[in-house]
Every structure is written in structure tokens, then in C-alpha cells.
Amino acid sequence: MAFDDPSAALDVAVAAGAFEGLRRAVRDLGPTGTIATVAASGLRGRGGAGYPTGEKWRTAALTDAPRRYVVANGYGADPGSLTDRAMIEADPFLVIEGLAIAAIAIGATEAVVAVRASETEAVRRLEGVISAAEEAGFLGPDLLGSGHDLSVTVRPVQGAYMLGEETVLLNALEGRRGQPEQRPPHPAERGLFGMPTVVQNVQTLAAVPFIVREGAEAFTRIGARGAPGTILVQVRGAEREGVAEVPLGTPLREVVALGGEPGRGRTLKAVVVGGPSGGLLPPELLDTPYEFGALRAVGAHIGSGSVIAADDRACMLDLARLLTGFCATEACGKTIPCRIGTRRLVEIADRIVDGRPRPTDLQLLADLSADIVASALCDHERLATLPLTTGMRYFRSELDDHLLRSSCPAGVCRPIAVGAGSAR
């Protein structure tokens, strides 16, 4: 699609059925009907946590407040995943339409689209599309003759990984330090500037027009039970890397296969599901459906939608240490378990990689991870333990090689010192 002329692009999109859902939400369903439809569809947030969207909207709509906000989270924090950017660039109209439907449903008059400032193309397209939609009367004052005002602004944000987390993003939009807030109250009750705020991933919003247009039942027919619809995945395999749209509930094996087979003489060793805080899953778990609940049950999560295949050249400990290390440096510093705990996790992994593990390290790793999870303020720290805990759970023999036999099966870790394995 050519976005150089946004109003022409808008005409093309409208001819193809864009803003049909918004029209239906305004004319036929009304706010409560729209929320009921979205709730009935079982749509769950695509930002990674999978919170039911309809429930969130209902909470925001029922909370008494002078004004409400809708925030579209298109930040896409994981540097290795471009799913949010792909969504915005491919069809900004869909995102804007979903945003408008959400705003109508909960009675919000202001909406914000948060985008990565470095993705200038996405920012440019969104801005063009929003002004074109405002001129055409799909946004702005009295949209589609509904008597409902909606101003949409694009806010390019940058500078921290944590901005992908909803309360962090809200703090950033308020001009504060990007640190998460204690929940409850959830943003749907008290969010941006203390007002009820619905924060949704751009992919979630993009699913909304279809639900409103075609009905909740049509949506539940796609995807898995309990997690209908499709989701964008960023697959990184040996042969190719790219963004794909898959129905939720697709077996992980098929998702991984999109990236191609491992190279000649190589075997698949692990799949990193969920980005920097993702879990390391062994090939035996490739039949796990790619879906919120099933992935959490095996120790991974949807996260940024990133699925990375690692073949037998990679050392699991090395990989887990890299992932945890990234999470540790990107910790915002608000809570001690996260700021210091994740750092200690990395230090333990450092010790093992360097061949000077202490006898208690494995127990310490398990205990510390459990403590971090138990005292976590936001999902970042809760999930930052996943690479190491899943590594311990599924690749225990490889870890034992490091710990007890001072060897690295993949031959990655620094030559391990003689006599290692004893306490230093």
C-alpha cells in the first residue's frame, strides 16, 4: 500500500471495508453492545500477558471518572522482534479503527498511540493516516455523527526496554521515570493521569474491527479454545527470519518450521519462546500449542511473539546468561528483587560459565528465582527468571556437565579451569 498519499490510501482502505466495524459499533451496537461482543469473542491481549480484553474494557467503562483514555501500545520493546512495527506499517487503518472502537466502547475522548521513535516509517504512516481519517470524519469531533469526540495523538517514545510494560508506558506518557506501578489498581481503573485507561497492544486493537464487523462467533472459530484469533510471530530459524501471522494454538513445531530446518549436520536443540525473557524449550515440547496458557505451563510465554530456534552449536547456559543479562541491565531499578536479584542471577551464571561454580549455586539459582517471582512488582522481573529456570529444568544434563564435569558440551564456554567445581 502506498502511504505517501494518506487520503488516497484511506479511500482504498475504505473501499476494502475499513471503518465498517467502527460504523457498526457506533450505529448498531453502542458502547455496551460493543463491549459485550468483544467479551463474547474471548479476545485476549496480544501484548504477552493475554488478559481478556472485554473484561478490561468493562472495568474501564464502569469506573466512574471525568474522562478516560485509550492507549495503543506499539512500542515493541524486544529488539529482536518487529511484530508491532509490522502491524503498524502493514495496516495502520486497522489499528486506528480498533482504537476508535475501544474509545467509543469505554467513552474515552483521548487516545494515544505509542510507537518506537526509531521506527520513523511507522510514525509517519500513523500520523498521515490519523489526519486523513480525521478529515474524513472517522476520528475527531463528532465522529461518524455519533456525538462522540475522539482526538488521537501519536507519541514516539524511546530510551528504555521497559516501556513495553503498560504502567511503565503510562508513566512515560506522563513525563515521568519509566517505572512500573503497583497493581491493583489496574490502569483500567486508574491509569494515565489517574483516569481509567485501556492499554492495548496494537495487534489486539487490530483484531477488534473484525470482531465487531463479523460478530464474536466468527472470531472464536479462529485459533485455539480459550485463546481465539491470530497473532504475529517473529520467527528466527536457521534459514530465514521474519514476521508471520499464525492462529493461536498452532503447534510450536509448525511455528518453528517457518524459520526452516537446522543447517546440515545440525539438530534443533532448543527454542527460545518469548523474547529476552523467554523460556528455553527442548525439542520434546515442540507439540505445545502456541497459546498463552499452554506456553506458561511449560515455562515460556508469548511475550514479544519472538520464536528463536537454537541448534546444537549454542550452549544453553551461555544463551540463558545472555537473555537474563539483557533483562538485568534493562531493569528499571524500582524494586530490589529485580534490580539486584536479576544481577545476582547473572553473576551465578557467570560463575558457572567461567568454571568456578560454588556447590550451592544451583540451589541458590532456584531459590533466588522463586524469591524474585514471589516478590515481583511487574512481569519483567517475574519473567526474567525464565531463561535460567527453564534452562535448569530442561537442560539439566548440560548444566551438570558445566558444574560437575567442568565441560561445555557445545564447546562455547571458556576453557574451564582445572579443579573447577569446587568452591572458590
Partner: protein
């Protein structure tokens, strides 16, 4: 005051005797829980770690949480350069100094600006005007000021604090959090070292990931996170 000799000591002993038969305040502490206010958090104390440095990171979280703003806190920033401090006591501290000088008839130096070059506040003021002096738009203000001046000098932050009414420490907190905001002039070596070493950019992660997947060892040479002192 008394004219009867020894009356004072009788009074004193009477009090002692009265106290003697009153119920005792001593409790069998670990077995019997002490009766303290529900908001009591124990004695405030700054602890030292095993290297002899203060464990307090001057994160201002206790000061932010303190409802009566009784916590006066000062420290140096992560680069060991600027003094940062919190809240109204900051003003009292400076005022105390000032008034002493003023009473002695000497000129009053503005210590807050002493080490920092003065800036052209008109340029900052124009930006603040554009943003209605609204502290809720702090991030946009800071980004605009950085675009104007190239970096965020302390004088500019102080000026923003003065004009928007937001605490300097809050503004400093915002400015120091985001990686694209710089508190040092461009080209200053300190920026490259301190900030990028402590918070490696995403590209470091990506290259490390590539190395890890190809079995070259991401963590060994990658200058990974754990070793960086924050």
C-alpha cells in the same frame, strides 16, 4: 522555692515510690509483641556493604514515599559528578547557607549554579511556553530542550524545575532514565563510557544473540550485563 528543708527530697522520693508500685512497662519482648504504631518501620539507619561503601543508592524512593517530606537526602549521580538532592530541605539547606552569608554582609553565591555553565534560558523558556509549563509533558519538554541545546545541562533542568514547579530530583530522574537523553555535552567521553557501559544498547543484545546461536559465546566476550557496576 520551698522554705521547708528537705521537702524537695521527700517530693522526689514520693514520686519514686509511686512509680515503684505502678504497673511495669517492661515486656518479655520476643514472646510478647511490642506495642508500636502500625506505621513504625524500625530505626532508620544507613548501612555499609562489605566494601565499605554506603548501601544507599540515593534512589529517592524513601524520600518520595515520605508523606511529610521529612527525609532530606543528598548524593552524587551515577557518574559521580553532580550533586543531587531531594525536596524542600534542599531549599532550606541552601537558604541556611545564604542567610548566614547575608547576615555577615558578604555576597551570596548561587551554589546550585556554581559548577555549571549558565545557559541561555530564553531558549528553554520558549520551549516551556510551547508546552504550557506543564510538568506532565516533561518528556516532550526535555526532548525539545535537548534538541535545542544538544544536551541537558543542569542549569536547564534547574530552570525547568523552577518554571514548571516539578521537583528537580523528579526531573533529574526522568532525564537520567531514558537512554536518548544526555546529561553531558555531545562528544564528552564520560557519556560514552558511563551510560553505555552500564546499559548496553539493544544492538549489543542482538549481536550477542547472534553469537550465542552460532556457538561463538555471547557472554564471554560480549561485555555482558552482570559485570557492569551501576
Amino acid at each position: 522555692m520551698s522554705f521547708i528543708p528537705g521537702l524537695g527530697i521527700v517530693k522526689g522520693m514520693a514520686l519514686t515510690l509511686r512509680r515503684f508500685f505502678e504497673p511495669k512497662a517492661t515486656i518479655r519482648y520476643p514472646e510478647v509483641p511490642a506495642d508500636v504504631s502500625p506505621k513504625f518501620r524500625g530505626r532508620l539507619q544507613l548501612l555499609y556493604d562489605e566494601w565499605g561503601t554506603l548501601k544507599c543508592e540515593t534512589c529517592f524512593q524513601c524520600a518520595q514515599a515520605c508523606p511529610i517530606e521529612c527525609i532530606d537526602m543528598g548524593g552524587i549521580d551515577t557518574k559521580g559528578r553532580y550533586h543531587v538532592h531531594w525536596g524542600p530541605p534542599e531549599q532550606y539547606g541552601e537558604r541556611r547557607e545564604e542567610s548566614a552569608l547575608r547576615r555577615s554582609g558578604r555576597t551570596v553565591p548561587d551554589k546550585a549554579y556554581e559548577h555549571f555553565e549558565p545557559i541561555d534560558t530564553d531558549r528553554v523558556e520558549a520551549i516551556l511556553e510551547d508546552h504550557d509549563h506543564d510538568p506532565k509533558r516533561m518528556l516532550q519538554i526535555l526532548e525539545a530542550v535537548q534538541a535545542e541545546l544538544g544536551w541537558l545541562p543542569v542549569a536547564a533542568l534547574k530552570h525547568i524545575s523552577f518554571r514548571t514547579g516539578a521537583y528537580y530530583a523528579l526531573i533529574y530522574g526522568t532525564a537520567s532514565y531514558y537512554r536518548h537523553l544526555r546529561l553531558d555535552p555531545p562528544g564528552d567521553a564520560v557519556q560514552g563510557r558511563a551510560f553505555d557501559a552500564a546499559r548496553p544498547a539493544e544492538s549489543t543484545y542482538l549481536s550477542g544473540l547472534g553469537a550465542a546461536l552460532e556457538g561463538r559465546g555471547a557472554a564471554v566476550g560480549g561485555g555482558a550485563a552482570g559485570s557492569a557496576v551501576h
